[in-house]
Each structure stands twice: as structure tokens, then as C-alpha cells.
Symmetry: C2
Subunit: 383 residues, 2 copies
Amino acid sequence: MTTATHAKGLEGVIAGETEICNVEQTSLVYRGYEIADLAANASFEEVAFLLLVGHKPSSDELGAFKAELIAERALPSAVVEFLKTSGNLVNNEYAVPMDILRTAVSILSHLDADCQDNAGDANLRKSKRLLAQIPTVIGHMQNSIEGKDFIAPNANLSHSANLLYMMTGSEPTPEAEKVMDVSLVLYAEHDYNASTFTARVISGTLGDLHGAVTGAIAALKGKLHGGANEAAMEMLADIRNDIGSDNDLGKVTDWMHQAFADKRKLMGFGHRVYKNGDHRAPILHGLGRKAAQARGEDFIKLFELGEMVQKIMEDEKKIYPNVDFPCGMTYFTMGIPVPQYTPIFVASRITGWAAHIMEQHANNRLIRPRVAYIGPAPRNWND
Amino acid sequence: MTTATHAKGLEGVIAGETEICNVEQTSLVYRGYEIADLAANASFEEVAFLLLVGHKPSSDELGAFKAELIAERALPSAVVEFLKTSGNLVNNEYAVPMDILRTAVSILSHLDADCQDNAGDANLRKSKRLLAQIPTVIGHMQNSIEGKDFIAPNANLSHSANLLYMMTGSEPTPEAEKVMDVSLVLYAEHDYNASTFTARVISGTLGDLHGAVTGAIAALKGKLHGGANEAAMEMLADIRNDIGSDNDLGKVTDWMHQAFADKRKLMGFGHRVYKNGDHRAPILHGLGRKAAQARGEDFIKLFELGEMVQKIMEDEKKIYPNVDFPCGMTYFTMGIPVPQYTPIFVASRITGWAAHIMEQHANNRLIRPRVAYIGPAPRNWND
């Protein structure tokens, strides 16, 4: 038995090296560019290229990249057929959109000529294909849930606008497109978070890219990870349901104190790495609040409630919101169905996952830790 | 940035605690019982119960457990329908059985009433269900690949015998059943191997059991992990193809020297933990060789070739076979198609994965390490 002590959940343990991302207390950097700079100045397609290829695209590179993505948006018929049943699966309550998305990506692998090839060029082709296909999966799934016909991708629209269009059938306003685009930029990459680490452990066995993404989707689903954006909105809905929508500060405080007393886990707060706040949160909060302003009183009140909850958490618990907290309110304001919040996270994080899978395959070592045994002492089966 | 140094691939790093399994240089223990004891004295169903429930079953408990597994073998029709297409998918060469199995498990989740419930009792029900269903998936898939009708599970047969029956349509001999059963006992659990660790990272986000198993299958597929049993057999087939089947020691030695010179990775040898040999290997080698003896000259010669390769690796490289090396030869001797070797590994390791997922959910902490950034220095997007 190795005798080293261990950190539960690998907290603070460095598990590898990366050129892709640097998460620090006071900054988040994608390949050298700070997240606030990217959120203000780069489109999601530019950030996706940066993560996947490694540098800021030239104008020609960006044009070619966008054209490739648009060309790859349609899905093979077997996946379309599966998604036609997805509405029944979700509406009968055993399945949720994140599970459907996981299955869809798994089926996509069977139809991808590059599936079994872990070489860098094949991995890049697969990465672009999945990036292009995932919004179509989400759109078709949402159409299926609502019992509507599927909407074909719109080649005139950006990644963000097309994602919204395919879910709703309406071209989004430039403002809504911008909010979605920035949220995808913020969600694209976050070093060795649990889903990316899952993707690296899978690809470290020389498992293929689609398989690694399938596992990463399963990890992102969890409420302690990507599932938190849905859970945060569900919590705000619970508060409104319990105390009404008048945002009475006394009632909100009472609700929170009861939640503390019940040891209820309040989602969208705290972070394994960021101890003094997640600097993605205020960026998205500001944009979401602006969107709420445009949508009217009820949405403004949702943000005001969120701000009260946030202040109580900060004052009484010294715990700060992470990006999932404003994301929940923002996507709600945009009219997106709650169970699609985490699939939309996938539509962004696929870029970070794919970049890490390619980095893992390019300089591989099996990720295989040890464990401390605390089970029964030696014994004999026939005793 | 955390400043601790890191071990590439988390080699030697203790990532948690477990009551399930202890891997040491000189022993492998499942909940206190040594692997040689279990291989000699316990059936796979007994070992599965031990891993999932935590203790050796009483006679009544074992009877009830076996009955539950037999009752859960049939698949929902949506999975049967998917598997009907699996032969086309595999035969057109983009897909492999491990990928089909991953998709099938992902679809099974949509139809499982316990899917979204991470409580211990729900997890145990799902674990038993998957344990019962996976051999049916493998059997139907192999029937589909061969263009045959699906074979219904046989309630009179053990887990091992039924697995072989469903693939071939013939009830196995008691000797073949025993060899399969011992191989499943040997493969059932191995602490924080890469696929189990994947399952723990996924369940550590509070992702569900089916999702965690889906990711684990993707990890086990890799040639540096479970895929090694297929790769080991493919290597022996390559040697036979190149030098003929007369087992000329000079030719084998030349082949190996050429492989060393080409830096070809020889599969089924070496292990992240075991540095002086994997003690599961001789157990399975002995049983496989006995099976070869019964099947005739060609199979005996395969084992003789394997023993030559093994001796050259030991003498010249001081690298020892792991359990995947005899497994490849053994399953080949049993007439199992090579691409099903790793799926059969899943039919066993599902027990260890499920035990770890339940242990993770019962005492959870998100598994989220850090990473050392070695990428570009700070720069501005608009520069």
C-alpha cells in the first residue's frame, strides 16, 4: 500500500499539465486570453477556434471554420430517428435531456468514419462535427418534447443564434443572440473541472473522443457540476412558490434561514477553486439583468430576488455565486426550458473537452491513481 | 496557482478511500477475500453479491439474488430494436461492440424508473438490473453481427453459462462455463483502475449510475485498459500471420526484437500497479491452457506461442503479463469473437463499478483536481 496521505476529492492536487486554460483565484485564462477580454471582444466561434486549434483565428481561418460548422450541423438519420422518440422518453419522466444528449452523442460515434482514429487530425474533425451537431440535437429534442416538427438548421445564423432558433423556431433578437453567445464563451473551458477530467481519464486509456465526450456529458449532468444552473433556477422557483413574487426581504431571509437550518444545499453557490467569487458570475449577471429589463417586471423581480439570495449567502455564509447562479436566471429570462440549461452548457463546453482530449492523446499517460483500503481484514471464503 | 508538484497520470497518488478492494504488489483482495481464494471457491454470482452488497451471501440470499438476476435479463424493446441495427453498424466498420454496448446502456437508462435516483436502494436495484442485462446486450449484438435471430436468455443457466449461450446458441460444457466464470471473478474489481475512477468522478458530481457506467465503458474500451485483452490476441494473431504457426523460437525471438526496435507497444504486458507480475494472470493462464488441451493442437500451440512471447518479455524487458494476456488466448480458445472480449470484461466489471458508484454516492465529495498551466503568457484579444 502506498502510504501517502490523500486529499478527499483530489482537492488541491495537481493532476497534470495543460496549455489550454489557467484557473486562478483572480483570473480565468483561455490560452493566454483573460475571460473578461474574451467575453467583451470575441465571438463564441472565435473562442471555439482558439480552444480547438490553439491560436486566435485569422479572418480567413474564422470564415472557413464557420463554414465547416454550418456544413456539419445536420444529423445522420439514425440520430434524427432516435430524437423523434426523445419527447416521449422525457415526457414519461424517466429520462431527462442530458441523458438523451448523452445517448445521441453515443449514437453519433457509430456513424462517424473517424470514430476509431485518435490521431490529431481525426480528433479535430470529430471535434468540429460534434460542436456543429450538438445544437441540432438540443433543438430537435426540444421540438420533440413539445410535440413539434423538427426545425432545420439555419445556415445564415451564428452558432448561438442557430441554437436558439432550432429550439424555438424564431430567429432571436441581436440582444438575445449576444447574451447566449457570451454565456457560451464563459462556459467553454475551465481546466480540470470534473467533466473535463472525466474526458481526460477516458482518453488516457486511449479511449476515443466520442466515448470521452459521452462520459463528460454524464459528469456535467450532476448537480454539483453543470446541473447546478438548472438547480439554481429550481431553487429560485421554489422560493417564489413558497413566499410569492413580491420579494419581501423578511420572507426571503426567513426562507434562507429555514434552508440553512434544514441543511439544504443551495445550488449555484460556492466553488472548489474560487473561494472569493467566480468572476464569470458578474459578467453574466450584468447581461442577464439587461435582458430582464427588456422583458419586463416579472423578470426584473426574478433578478432582484436572486440578488437578495446572493447578499444573504455572502453576508451570512461568506459563500459567493458561481456562474451557474446568474446563468439560471438569464436562461429563464430568455424563455429557455429549465431542463435544457445543462445541455446548452454542453453546446459550449464541448470545445474545452475536445481540446483536452486532443492534448491528452498527443502526450498520453494513463490516469490511474491508487486508493487507501479501509475495508475488512483478510478472511477466507470457506471459513 | 497551487504549487505542489504533480505525478503524471496520478501515478502513486492516493485519490480516496474504499472498503471494496485492495490491490497490492503481492495480493488482490475483494472485501477481505484474496483473489486466488475467490477464483477457487466462489462463483461469479457470489462474488457479484459480495461486491454489491458487502458480505458473502447466505444460501438464501444467493438464491434470491440469482432469481432476481434471471428475472431482469430481458431488455426493453427499444434496446432490442437498437441492437437489431448493431450488426450493420459493426459490419460497416465505423462502430465496434464496445461502442454499441455503451449506447445500449445509455438507452437502458431512459427506460429505468430508478434512473434519476441516487439513493442506495435505487442504486442497488439498477446495479442488479445492469448486471443481468449486459450479457443479453452482448448476446443480441453478436447474433446481430452474425445476421442471426436473437436468442432469449435461458433461466436454467448461470450468469456465465447464459452469457456464452446467448452469443452462440449452444449451452456451454461445464468446463467452458467454469473458465468463463473464473475469468469474470478475476475481472470483477480492481480498485481505482481508470474505468472505475471514471465512474467515481462522474458519480462524484452526483451524476447517476447509468451515466457513470456509460463513461466507464468508454474508458474500459481503451487499449491501455480493458481493450488490452483484444489487443493481446491481435498481437499473437499478427505473430502467427508473420511467422506461421510452427512456433519456431528463433522466428518468435526475431519478431519480438523487431517489435522492440520498432517501439511497438506489446499489449497485455506491464501494469501501473503490479511491477513483478499480475497474480490473476497465472490463474487464468492455467485454466485457459487446460481448455486448449481439450480443444486440440492448434490451441495448445497458441498457448505455447504465448509462453514464448511471455518468456522473451520477462527475460529481455523484465515486464510481466497482466491478466489480459492469458485472457486473450483463453477467450480465443473458447471460440469467442475477439471484439467481444472487452464487452465480456464489462459483463464482469459492472459489479466493481456499481459498488464504487454506490460507495461514492454514500459519502460523496466532488472529485476535482487542479492542473499546472504551461500555456501562453497573458495577451490581449485585440492586440
